[in-house]
């Protein structure tokens, strides 16, 4: 049996005659049925990477294979095997919702009846039936995004590439969309998912990579990435505007400051001391509120990608 794992090896994409590296020796694989997340700040190189999978861009060096197919050498195969939701809007202004989904499904090789059945199921599952006969030009941004999602997943192929599918989508429908993403995975499709929504991704992806400046900083399952934070809590202190960071007690193991948000990492054993300290800060008017919570993937993300604190002016 063919192994339909997607493999990228040492993929490098440089611009401006090798002066800027949008992707720098990226190696990863996505197995059939796996939902693989790609997280990273703006300009990290996520879109550049997925555009190379579908053959819209050509790597400067490195290889990408899906099963027996070399996707770099054979972009025609890449387009048949992978479907792609771009980060930009879809060209469906003069399509009714149901047409856009059905025509794309048939272009992708589905028969009319099979595509129609799946389309109707998707329209129902994403709760966009209200706009079934609406022209794309009259759809709100979020609904248009959901229609785009339905277009590329109605007849998906082996790999579905989603570049920020939840942009503009309301919280309830976002859940419906994540459910469908999971379902694609359950049915054997490899999903390559670019998102900024770290907390939602945490619940939906099987594995993920965090990339910045073209490089993979960390890769693994959400829980393996949080491993180092096991036994720790995050104490989120909302400082009063324009206050300098207060002196930190010794039990604070790590901290980041983004504008008025001070996030201190403490061990579970120090929970009581942490709360005491935060209340003290509130008492003297330095802090406005606080919250104590388990560490999330977002903490890992912030720690890896960033000295967000260093990038932002500390006083703001």
């Amino acid at each position: 049996m063919t192994d339909w794992t997607f493999r990228a090896v040492d993929v490098t994409k440089s611009y401006d005659d090798g002066k800027t590296f949008a992707n720098d020796r990226i190696t990863l694989h996505v197995e059939p049925g796996e939902v693989y997340g790609l997280l990273g700040p703006n300009g990290a190189g996520k879109t550049t990477l997925v555009k190379q999978v579908i053959g819209l861009l050509k790597p400067s060096s490195g290889t990408m294979n899906l099963g027996p197919h070399d996707l770099v050498d054979d972009p025609d195969a890449a387009r048949q095997l992978c479907s792609y939701l771009p980060q930009a809007q879809m060209p469906i202004n003069s399509f009714k919702t149901h047409e856009a989904i059905a025509i794309t499904g048939m272009i992708r090789g589905g028969t009319a009846a099979a595509v129609a059945a799946r389309r109707d199921a998707l329209i129902e599952a994403l709760d966009i039936g209200e706009w079934r006969d609406t022209l794309g030009a009259k759809l709100s941004g979020g609904v248009k995004r959901l229609v785009g999602f339905a277009m590329v997943t109605v007849w998906p192929g082996r790999v579905v590439i989603l570049d920020e599918p939840t942009n503009d989508v309301d919280p309830l429908r976002r859940r419906l969309l994540w459910e469908q993403v999971r379902r694609l995975g359950d049915e054997g499709v490899a999903v390559f998912l670019v998102t900024h929504n770290v907390l939602e991704a945490e619940k939906s992806v099987d594995r993920l990579a965090i990339i910045d400046r073209g490089r993979i900083l960390a890769e693994g399952t959400p829980s393996s990435l949080k491993q180092v934070d096991r036994g720790r809590l995050r104490l989120h202190v909302m400082l009063a505007p324009h206050t300098p960071t207060p002196e930190l007690p010794p039990f604070v193991e790590d901290h980041t400051r983004v504008r008025s948000n001070l996030i201190a990492v403490i061990s579970e054993a120090e929970a009581v001391h942490g709360i005491g300290w935060a209340q003290e800060l509130m008492g003297i008017g330095i802090a406005e509120e606080y919250a104590l919570a388990a560490t999330t993937l977002e903490d890992v993300y912030v720690r890896l990608t960033g000295d967000v604190a260093a990038r932002e002016p500390a006083s703001s």
Partner: protein, 258 residues
């Protein structure tokens, strides 16, 4: 709800035909908002051009009227292929929707073929209108023969593919529009389309031997008149070379990846 994980790569004539039909549907539905107004404008310009020139010159001799009316339809077709078509592609680039269309799993040639069909749908009503109006307004002897079919097809193909090649080669949408405007202006202004080439200075007539538009006029006119066109074989040859060149450039550009 089961997801179809596709069994094998599709190939062969069945795949090509299915893709062509679906892409044509995609293009036509995609122009739903624009198509009625575009066709309407083509109808008006076709008729307007024929009548306008007549107004301007008062009484025109029937040979000149014959040249004029058969020339207008060539200009209509060339304008759609060389200006309107590229503008639509420039708009896709400007709106960032180009990527999705080029990620669709169809042979590139089917997208081009669908594009040619779409251009024909936009252009043909205006052409027919121009001929009808000319027939009513002027005393001309149109003799429609089977030669109009290969003539019109080759002209349509060449004009559309030239525009297509420009639109896909040039990255900047604004630049595409500029280039196509200049091209059509130069071609229609300085090519013997609406009048015989004897009316041009020798050097310009010689230059036009190497440009496509006068040859388009020749092959189209040959299918609509009798005893007017000379050097038809030459025009077919020249136009075929242009068609091949436009096809090769397009094929190259569509395979190229940034």
């Amino acid at each position: 709800m089961t997801v179809a994980v596709i069994p094998a790569l599709r190939t062969g004539p069945g795949y090509w035909w299915h893709s062509f039909v679906m892409m044509t549907r995609w293009e036509i539905v995609g122009l739903r908002l624009l198509l009625p107004i575009t066709v309407f404008v083509q109808l008006l310009t076709g008729a307007g051009f024929v009548l306008g020139v007549g107004l301007f010159f008062g009484q025109i001799p029937s040979r000149a009227a014959l040249f004029l009316s058969t020339g207008v339809i060539v200009i209509t077709l060339a304008t759609v292929g060389l200006v309107l078509g590229p503008q639509l592609i420039a708009a896709q680039k400007a709106e960032n929707t180009y990527d999705f269309i080029w990620s669709l799993p169809v042979p590139r040639s089917t997208a081009a073929a669908a594009w040619i069909v779409t251009n024909a749908i936009i252009a043909v009503p205006g052409m027919v209108m121009a001929l009808l109006v000319a027939n009513l307004r002027y005393d001309i002897d149109l003799v429609v023969s089977a030669a109009i079919v290969p003539g019109a097809l080759l002209t349509l193909y060449t004009a559309t593919m030239l525009g297509y090649a420009i639109a896909h080669t040039v990255k900047q949408p604004m630049l595409i529009n500029l280039i196509t405007q200049v091209t059509i202006f130069a071609l229609t202004g300085f090519s013997p389309v609406n009048f015989p080439k004897e009316q041009l200075p020798d050097w310009l007539a010689a230059l036009n031997e190497f440009l496509p538009l006068s040859h388009m006029a020749n092959v189209m006119r040959a299918g609509l008149t009798e005893g007017v066109v000379a050097g038809l074989a030459r025009s077919y040859l020249a136009l075929s070379l242009w068609a091949v060149a436009a096809t090769l450039v397009t094929a190259f550009v569509l395979r190229r990846r940034a």
